[in-house]
């Protein structure tokens, strides 16, 4: 991090954005004095928090001004129970024991977890853990809360709950909040300003979010930061001629702005009316017909119970057609990872439940399953088995080589490995240790190490976890290439924006049961179901639903707009000129951009 200079007013909520490695986490440590007091390094300049110069103020004093909440709930606790954890900070400050008890109750009250005092931390859900982490810093009475990707390990429901809580805390207790977060659409509703860092940790922007996302095209390019979906939609609409007023970011503002756009609601009505009652947008129907093939994977009445007694799956049946991009969604603990593990042979299903190419997986050896299915785990490091980047790819081709598989490759295989290295942008790092790569590079390498074997089906377990927007885009490009080459993808995720953009088939698990199988549109059109599954529809589908409501109040929600991504919305609506050329919009149903 270099040369940073900014001010945050009391009571403000600031969103910090920037690519991985831009020093966002370093910034958090500077704010509460761990840098420079406990972490060594080169430090220049001054940080002032609540009127205190950080360099001159001891850590315990700062700890009462600044509260830090981190990404991983499991690695910020040091005790075993909720009450001990909240007491921990106060005990360090030598607060008397009778006052601590009171503070624990107040802190739990503040995070809406009354009655959790005696609970064990290990039995809490991820969302509850993050709230306890928040309570344990709130108990110390900070005015500034600094949160470093607090929702990274949470599912959409828990994320929404956490953000709702932060919002309420800010209103009730006037906390200043600095939050690092990738989930733009979720935080944009309640932040006051954004701070954008570039790759080198320099300050690119601090100020009004609307200015950042509407007036600073170059800035966004430079920092690799994406826009909230609402800003993306409005910008896109303007490019095709719609005069959308204002610079809306929040959902409700966006809906009002679109409703106030001359001619937009009318066009929406025209474009939609002929399709009411049919399912989906014609463009999608074509895609669907093209992709019909033989079932590559078939699951019949699959149930699974762990040795611990937990029933993870209950009578799940579905099939995956070859060539599809299937998303497997659901809240944390819904059974997604278990299902993937049963398909790839990590766990063993009962006979007659899981079929690959029509063959029961129970009749296949691990090697045979491995030749048909690639399984990319959540943490790329867990799957590295050699000492070099090149070795990782070579190992996939020659898993039986004892040492240095890259030394035993033949001409063709060597060429294949090199072409993959080039594609991943890792040619220069071919001899590096995989553990030394950046997070995004590790992720792409682990995916490539599966793809290079040429299996027809690729399972990915939350591959976008902890990745910034640019890395997600590069990863998804790899997946799309794989699909274009005839591959089939089954991706576990709870990011419904990703699902809407990339998946052509969706499976939804809720508490171990399959509650939806079909096109993503069909599921996202039922907000009640989305909610019940612990998921959250992308911002765009909420905008669409609200617009429809304005257009035809009282219309059944199940007939919501099929346009769930910005490109499909734009091409669905069409440029404003066609409306001028051909009033009524007839004959231009396929006109798009």
């Amino acid at each position: 991090m270099i040369d940073l200079d900014f001010e945050v007013a009391p009571g403000e909520a600031v969103l910090v954005l920037g690519p991985s490695g831009s020093g966002k986490s370093t910034l958090t440590l500077c704010l509460d004095g761990l840098i420079p007091h406990l972490v060594e390094g080169e430090y220049e300049g001054e940080v002032w928090v609540a009127g205190l110069a950080v360099k001159e103020t001891p850590v315990p004093v700062l700890a009462q001004r600044v509260g830090l909440v981190f990404q991983d709930p499991d690695s910020q606790f040091c005790t075993l129970t909720v009450e001990d954890e909240i007491a921990f900070g106060l005990e360090n400050l030598c607060v008397e024991s009778n006052r601590i008890d009171e503070a624990i109750d107040q802190a739990l009250e503040a995070v809406r977890l009354p009655g959790y005092r005696r609970r064990r931390l290990s039995e809490l859900s991820g969302g509850e853990k993050q709230r306890v982490a928040l309570a344990s810093v709130l108990a110390m009475g900070p005015s500034l809360l600094v949160l470093d990707e607090p929702s990274a390990n949470l599912d959409p429901k828990a994320t929404a709950d956490l953000f709702g809580l932060l919002r309420a805390l800010r209103e009730e207790r006037k906390h200043t909040i600095i939050i690092i977060e990738h989930k733009l659409d979720e935080v944009i509703e309640w932040i006051d300003s954004v701070l954008i860092l570039d790759e080198k940790g320099r300050l690119l922007f601090l100020g009004d979010p609307a200015e950042a996302f509407y007036d600073n095209h170059e800035l966004l390019e430079q920092s690799g930061v994406w826009r909230p979906q609402t800003a993306e939609l409005v910008t896109g609409l303007r490019q095709i001629g719609w005069r959308v007023p204002g610079r809306p970011l929040a959902l409700s503002d966006t809906v009002s702005a679109l409703a106030a756009t001359p001619g937009l609601l009318e066009r929406l009505g025209e474009r939609l009316r002929p399709r009411v009652g049919t399912d989906g947008w014609p463009g999608r129907l074509e895609a669907r017909n093209a992709s019909v093939g033989r079932p590559l994977l078939e699951v019949r009445e699959l149930s699974f119970q762990y040795a611990t007694g937990r029933l993870a799956l209950q009578r799940v049946s579905f099939s995956v057609i070859s060539g599809r991009f299937v998303a497997l969604a659901g809240a944390n603990g819904a059974g997604k990872t278990t299902l993937a593990s049963l398909v790839s042979g990590v766990l063993s299903p009962e006979p007659g439940r899981v079929f690959l190419h029509g063959r029961d997986v129970r009749g296949l050896s691990p090697r045979e399953i491995g030749a048909l299915v690639g399984h990319v785990f959540q943490n790329p490091e867990h799957q590295f088995v050699t000492d070099t980047v090149r070795g990782e790819l070579a190992y996939s081709l020659l898993p039986r080589a004892r040492r240095r598989p890259e030394a035993h490759l033949d001409e063709k295989q060597r060429w294949l490995v090199d072409s993959w290295l080039e594609r991943l942008g890792l040619l220069g790092l071919a001899e590096a240790n995989p553990f030394s790569l950046s997070h995004g590079q590790k992720r792409r390498l682990s995916v490539a190490a599966m793809l290079i074997r040429g299996q027809g089906l690729l399972l990915l377990d939350e591959p976008t976890l902890g990745q910034d927007e640019r890395q997600v885009a590069r990863l998804m490009a790899l997946m799309q290439d794989f699909q274009a080459g005839g591959g089939t993808v089954l991706m576990i995720t709870h990011d419904m924006r990703l699902v809407a953009e990339y998946a052509d088939w969706l499976l939804v698990l809720r508490e171990g049961r399959l509650v939806y199988e079909g096109e993503p549109e069909g599921f996202l059109a039922r907000p009640g179901e989305v909610d019940k599954a612990g998921l959250r529809a992308p911002a765009l589908s909420e905008v669409s639903a609200a617009l429809l409501e304005r257009l035809e109040p009282g219309r059944p929600v199940s007939a919501s707009l099929p346009w769930l991504t910005v490109p499909s919305f734009l091409s669905g609506l069409g440029p404003v000129e066609t409306a001028l050329v051909a009033p009524g919009g007839q004959g231009s149903a396929t006109g798009g951009v």
Binding site: Q76, F77, E91, C94, P399, A449
Partner: protein
């Protein structure tokens, strides 16, 4: 993360059986360090018993105290001990084959050259019951002592530095996470074709492959916890307060005294009956 079976029966069950502090069964209410003292005393006494009967009696007493004093079900007490059945069998076989007194001791059964001698049974039984004593004592202790209470008690009664104490607690928290990581890493690498074959070379290379991600993860996690603790003013002052204080009550001292009396009584009775042997014959 794959929820898998527990590798260590004590570890996961201790978590499951964590009682609310200050409440619960008689043993759960005892001061942890004092309880530990009682366990050590009993274990020491058992160490010097070389007959099978006396340790067997103490083993049964330990189970009884765990059952009625600790509120542990027989199932919870006996299941983790099942592994020691196997150990007992191994000890027996070793003694039948190699006990030096086999030649002079009367044989109970003999199958050809193979004799089951009294000396062998006696020695094996003694070793096995002592083993069971140690196992059941630790089991009852672990199952009736919330780890956070033990840590606090070490600080309050034994003056352990609080930094060391919390370091231990964090380590304890990490164990189940590490275990989960291990299970996940093993699965993740098997998917890539890392086999489960035996042989020195395979075991060595597999260990190496598991170790790196496991250690990287653990170090990273430890670093994060350290930062999170520092951010909450851990170690800022030489002393700190405690919401709960572990104290030694009269009941705790009575418990140790009663334990000593009972064990002494058992030893005395056994000696009077001519069963107890305090030296190797």
């Amino acid at each position: 993360m794959l929820p898998g079976g527990a590798l260590d029966p004590f570890l996961s069950s201790a978590e499951d059986a964590l009682p609310a502090p200050g409440r619960g069964h008689y043993l759960e209410r005892r001061n942890p360090v004092i309880k530990l003292l009682a366990v050590v005393l009993v274990a020491l006494a058992v160490t010097f018993l070389f007959d099978p009967v006396t340790p067997a009696v103490i083993f049964l007493l330990t189970l009884a105290v765990g059952r009625w004093g600790g509120g542990l079900s027989l199932r919870a007490l006996l299941r983790p001990l099942a592994i020691f059945l196997l150990a007992g069998f191994a000890i027996l076989v070793a003694n039948l084959l190699f006990n030096k007194d086999n030649a002079v001791s009367p044989a109970l059964v003999s199958i050809g050259p193979f004799k089951v001698t009294v000396a062998a049974l006696w020695a094996a039984g003694s070793l096995w019951f002592r083993l069971l004593c140690f196992a059941s004592l630790s089991l009852v202790f672990v199952r009736t002592t919330p780890p956070q209470d033990l840590i606090l008690s070490l600080v309050h009664q034994l003056r352990l530095s609080y930094k060391a104490a919390y370091g231990t607690m964090v380590g304890y928290r990490m164990l189940p996470l590490l275990q989960n990581d291990y299970i996940t890493i093993r699965a993740a690498q098997r998917v890539r074709g890392v086999g489960e074959k035996g042989g020195v070379w395979h075991i060595w290379s597999r260990t190496r492959r598991y170790a790196l991600p496991l250690l990287t993860g653990a170090v990273r996690r430890a670093g994060r916890v350290a930062v999170a603790m520092d951010a909450r003013a851990f170690g800022a002052f030489p002393a700190r307060t405690y919401r709960r204080r572990m104290v030694v009550r009269k009941g705790d001292l009575l418990f140790v005294a009663a334990t000593v009396v009972v064990v002494a009584a058992v030893l005395l009775a056994s000696w009077r009956l001519g069963i107890a042997r305090f030296t190797v014959t």
